[in-house]
Every structure is written in C-alpha cells, then in structure tokens.
C-alpha cells in the first residue's frame, strides 16, 4: 500500500502506546464505525477535530522507478477534506431531497489490525488500521472496498478525536459508481 511512495505505512522504529490507551483507541474506532453503519452522521462528525484533514487520494499505476509513486498531495483525490467539507457532505446525506439515499444505503465497516503508536506530540497518537467497507443499495448494488488507514488521534476534553486521517485503497479504477460512504 505504500506503492512506492517512501514506504509510508511500513513499520519503522515505533513506540507503541500503553495497553489501556491502545484499547481505548480500538474501541473508539469500533464505535466510530458503528456510528457510520447506523447513519448517525452528525454524531460521527462530532468525532472529528475542527482542524481535521481527511484525505483519500486516488491511486495511479506508475512504474516503480517513477518517483512520484501511486498517489500524493495535489493529485487526484476522493477526499481532501476540511471540517467544512465533511460538514457539507453530511448536510447532503441528511437532505430529505437526497433521492439517491432514499431508500437508505446499508453500510458495514469492518475495522481491524489496529496498531497505535506515540507521536512527537503529547496527547496525539498515530493509529494504523485496515478496513473492509461494504455497501448495499436497492436490490442488487453491492460494493466492496478494502484499504488501510493512518489516523492521528488527539486526546480532548470530550475524549479521543480524529485530527487527521489518510485512507489508501487498493483500486485504481474505482469499481463503484460512487463513494456515498465514509471511511
């Protein structure tokens, strides 16, 4: 999944957080997934920090020798969102006139392989995870996506919050007509 971009996901010298924190982080990510599965969009949005950067780049096929790799800032993206952008997406999901979302899409977010490390910032953690995102709409539309996430989670007064999220999927040609979902 680094696909030739400086081995971004590859483990290096990493300091894992203590087990209590690891546990809290895992439960936080599971709860977040449950919010998404139950279309609790606003409650989900409340788990993002106001300065969130929520990024899901588009993937290109490039030669290994091509230094720019499969993805990067300033190239195509599915999400490259600030809090305002996420808010707008949530607002759209919640419009009664979002015909394409009525009947509702049914989502399942499987989250696993959660690993949490300390960062240089006190009170911020780097959390790795993988996901299976499966959606069904109407009679026979079923979409499957798998990928990896790299989150910066921040301790706040209200508990953990997502301050940065990077989502990298494996598909370069997206085999779905849209991404009416979050990751």
């Amino acid at each position: 999944m680094n696909v030739n971009v400086k081995g971004e996901f590859a483990p290096a010298a990493e300091q894992h957080v203590d087990r209590d924190t690891a546990n809290r982080i895992e439960q936080f990510l599971f709860r977040e997934a449950r919010l998404l599965d139950s279309e609790a969009w606003e409650a989900w949005l409340a788990l993002m920090t106001p300065d969130i950067h929520y990024w899901m780049p588009a993937i290109e096929n490039r030669r290994r020798a091509d230094r720019i790799g499969a993805y990067g800032p300033g190239r195509g993206a599915y999400f490259d969102d600030t809090y305002l952008d996420l808010q707008r997406r949530v607002a759209r999901f919640m419009q009664p006139s979002a015909w394409a979302e009525d009947p509702p899409t049914r989502h399942v977010h499987v989250i696993s392989n959660v690993e949490a490390c300390r960062t240089e910032v006190e009170g911020e953690y780097l959390a790795h995870s993988v996901f299976v995102n499966y959606r069904s709409r109407g009679e026979a539309d079923n979409d499957l996506l798998l990928g990896r996430r790299e989150d910066i989670l921040r301790e706040t007064e209200d508990g953990l919050r997502v301050a940065r999220r990077k989502i990298v999927i494996t598909q370069s040609l997206l085999m779905s007509k849209n991404l009416n979902t979050f990751f």
Binding site: A58, E60, N61, R63, D85, R89, R92, P96, A100, L179
Partner: protein, 428 residues
C-alpha cells in the same frame, strides 16, 4: 439502443472507430517522452510527446503477439518495452530492437512493418488532443466546425490556454454511454430535481429556477451541444468557494474584450457541454470527462480538472478541490447522477420496457433563426433540442457505410480566422 449487444458492436465500428475522440490535454505531456495511456472506446492507446514537440498515439498493444505494452497510467520514457518477449519500441512507435534480432532478420522480417500501430489521425484544438482511428475521417477542424466558437469560451479566455490540474480519477458506472452524454449535452432540467440536496448542501439553497431564465440557450453543431445561460458564475457557485466566483468576475472584462460580451457571460454560467460522441465538461465547475463505453450497460468514467493556465495557483487548487467535492465519485452532485444513469439503463433489461417510446420533445419550436450565434440555436436552456441533435448524428453515423453517406446537416458559417483572436498563439 441502451441494451442491445448488436447495436453496441455497431457503435464501436461505425461511431467510435470513425469519430474524433479526446486523447489528452497537451499540458499532460509537457516534455518529450511524456506519455499517458487512455482509451478510444475499448481500444487502449498510448499518447506520447515526440522529440519534435508533436504528439503521436499508438495502440497500446505489442504488434508481436499482441500483449499489452505499457501497464502504467502515465510517465516519461525513452522507449516502450514489451513484458512478453522484450521487443522495444521508440516513442515514435518504431520497432527498435529485441533479443535475438539476427534470427528475425534471417526470417526475413522487415522491422519497418512491425512498429506500433498508429492512431490514424491525431490533431489538436487549443490544447485538446484528439485522435481518429479512421484515416478517411474529415479533419478535426471540420468535425468541430462552428462549435469551436463555443469551445473557445472554455479553452481560450485569454489567449494563454488551459491546463489539467491533478491526476485522472477513474470509476465504473453501470450505464449506457449515451445516457450521461445526453445528460451533459443539454439536460439542465434534471438539476432542479436531482441535485436539490447537493445544491442545498453546497449553496444552502435550491437550484436556480433556470427554466424561467429568458436569456438561456441550447446550441449544437455536428452532434456537439452546449446548454447555457448568461449568469457568468452559476455553475461555479456550486463549488461553494467564493474565491472562484471572484476570479471569474475578475477576468470577465478581459474575456469580453477577447470573445465579446455574450461569450464572456458563459465562462462559469449554468451550463453543460458534450462533444460528440463521448466527451463532456462543465464550464465553471471545470470538470472535464470522457465516458468510455464498456459494453452496452457499462462505462468507465475518466475525469480531470481543467483550469486557465494563467490562473493563480491558489485558484487552480480550489478548482481541483471543487471538482472533487462536486463531480467525482465522492462528489455530492455526481452521487445523485450515478443512480439516474444506471437505472435509466437498467430498466431496459425488461423486454416490454425497452420497446417503450420515451419523450424527447421538450423545446420543439424553440429554434431561433434570427440570431448571429453559429450552429443550431434554441431559446431556453431547459430544452431537449441538443438531445435530438445528438441522436440524429448518432443515427447518421450508425447507418452510414462510408463518409460520403453521412448527411452534412450542419454547415460552417464562420471562417477559420474566427478562432484566432490575435497574434499570440494559444499556448497549451
């Protein structure tokens, strides 16, 4: 029409293998050796910048045993080497060598006959590179004809041309290719209803009631079509970014000087465009896209973001972000459209359903004859005139054995000089 495999095979042969198809924007290939791979319908092709600055295109297939030649989306290279037996081709398509060359020589092989299969014609219009598989097809300038008068609104606002920013985003939609082309060629009407939720999310209110706009149009030429009003920034507004609107208002006076007052009001107005057969874009939102057919019920959508080369970097970045938020697989507008595209196709699975006559008569009788605008012009952008012109062109090509059987319905009114506004060449 939307379901039948036989018709689809005919479309590949009679339409896609004879039409000018969009290949690339020149800005994607700044240097010699820069290449990208794309499709002409289902044919995968390599488009590559030559040492002399020209652009060539080839089937992305090795002429030895037919393996796919290049597996990347883009890059820079001195040669293309096939994975199977290692035949090597220059960026000019010439066969340059292989292991065991002496054996091929001894077999009487003429290397000159085994280069990459070229796309028969390649030509550009103000930065857009098109290809045509048919050596007998009329030239690009004739194909586009007077439609270039409108294309200049997007491509030539200030004589400095345009460029693509960001990379290509690709997705699969289970619809017939004609459905989205029809949508972009003239269907602003759907926006009112389909995009209500997205408009409210991005703008905080519903879509403008365009059908009441007295100063709006459908225009078409050779099956290409543009629907628009003259509100300057109506499309751009949906990006929810006032810097972009400011930018457009800022450049409008200069554009008016160059292209005239009328066209300067089209630069980001409520509008949409399809170039026959399968290229579409939206002025103002600046999404640029090709709907590649993949059988009668499936397409592969390639999208880019097009901007004025002269725009500030910050404005370019905002447009890149804007197309992502609106017209991309995760875009709030595109999510609404996708369902419509797919289910306008899928209903045709029904045997009785696909016999049903649909309605395409909106705007019958709105043709304007007393206008200076080139092409076929219709009053009110809420119209289906462009739809009808598109399907007419489609039927003309589908039933024509050769080019001389294709009726010349539209005649150019403008001279070639009409597209060269000053001495500065449009750099692209």
């Amino acid at each position: 029409v939307y379901w039948d495999h036989q018709i689809y095979e005919q479309e590949l042969e009679k339409i896609f293998a004879r039409s000018w198809l969009f290949l690339a924007h020149e800005s994607q290939l700044p240097k010699a050796g820069d290449y990208l791979t794309t499709y002409m319908a289902e044919d995968n092709v390599i488009v590559v910048r030559q040492k002399d600055g020209s652009v060539k295109a080839f089937l992305n297939t090795c002429p030895h045993r037919g393996n796919k030649l290049n597996f990347t989306d883009a890059g820079n290279t001195r040669s293309f080497v096939c994975n199977y037996h290692g035949w090597s081709f220059g960026i000019d398509g010439a066969l340059r060598g292989m292991a065991g060359q002496e054996l091929f020589d001894a077999s009487g092989m003429k290397a000159g006959e085994h280069g990459l299969h070229p796309v028969a014609q390649v030509a550009s219009y103000k930065g857009l590179v098109f290809g045509n598989m048919d050596p007998d097809a009329p030239p690009l300038d004739e194909w586009l004809g007077d439609f270039r008068f409108y294309l200049d609104v997007m491509l030539d606002m200030d004589g400095q041309g345009t460029e693509f920013v960001g990379s290509c985003v690709k997705s699969v939609i289970n619809c017939n290719w004609k459905v989205p082309v029809e949508n972009f060629i003239g269907d602003i009407y759907h926006a009112l209803w389909t995009h209500d939720s997205a408009a409210r999310a991005m703008l905080g209110g519903p879509v403008a009631e365009v059908y009441r706009d007295p100063d709006s149009y459908h225009v078409n030429y050779n099956g290409h079509g543009w629907e628009f009003n003259l509100d300057v920034v109506g499309n751009a507004a949906t990006l929810g970014d006032k810097e972009i609107r400011k930018y457009l208002y800022g450049i409008q006076p200069a554009v008016a000087e160059r292209l005239g007052e009328f066209r300067s009001k089209m630069i980001g107005s409520i509008s949409s465009v399809s170039v026959f057969p399968n290229l579409s874009f939206l002025p103002g939102q600046n999404t640029f896209r090709v709907w590649h057919p993949r059988g009668p019920g499936k397409i592969e959508l390639h999208t880019w973001t097009i901007v004025n080369r002269s725009a500030p970097q910050d404005i370019k970045d905002r447009w890149l972000k804007g197309t992502m938020m609106t017209f991309s697989p995760s875009g709030v507008f595109e999510m609404d459209d996708g369902e419509n595209f797919e289910f306008s196709t899928r209903t045709n699975a029904g045997f009785v359903t696909r016999q049903q006559e649909l309605y395409m008569g909106l705007g019958l009788g709105t043709r304007l004859t007393d206008t200076d605008l080139p092409g076929n012009v219709y009053r009110n952008q809420v119209n289906e005139a462009n739809h009808r012109a598109f399907y007419q062109r489609w039927a003309d090509l589908l039933s024509a054995r050769s080019w001389k059987d294709v009726p010349k319905r539209d005649k150019a009114a403008l001279r070639e000089s009409a597209f060269n506004y000053d001495d500065r060449k449009v750099s692209a």
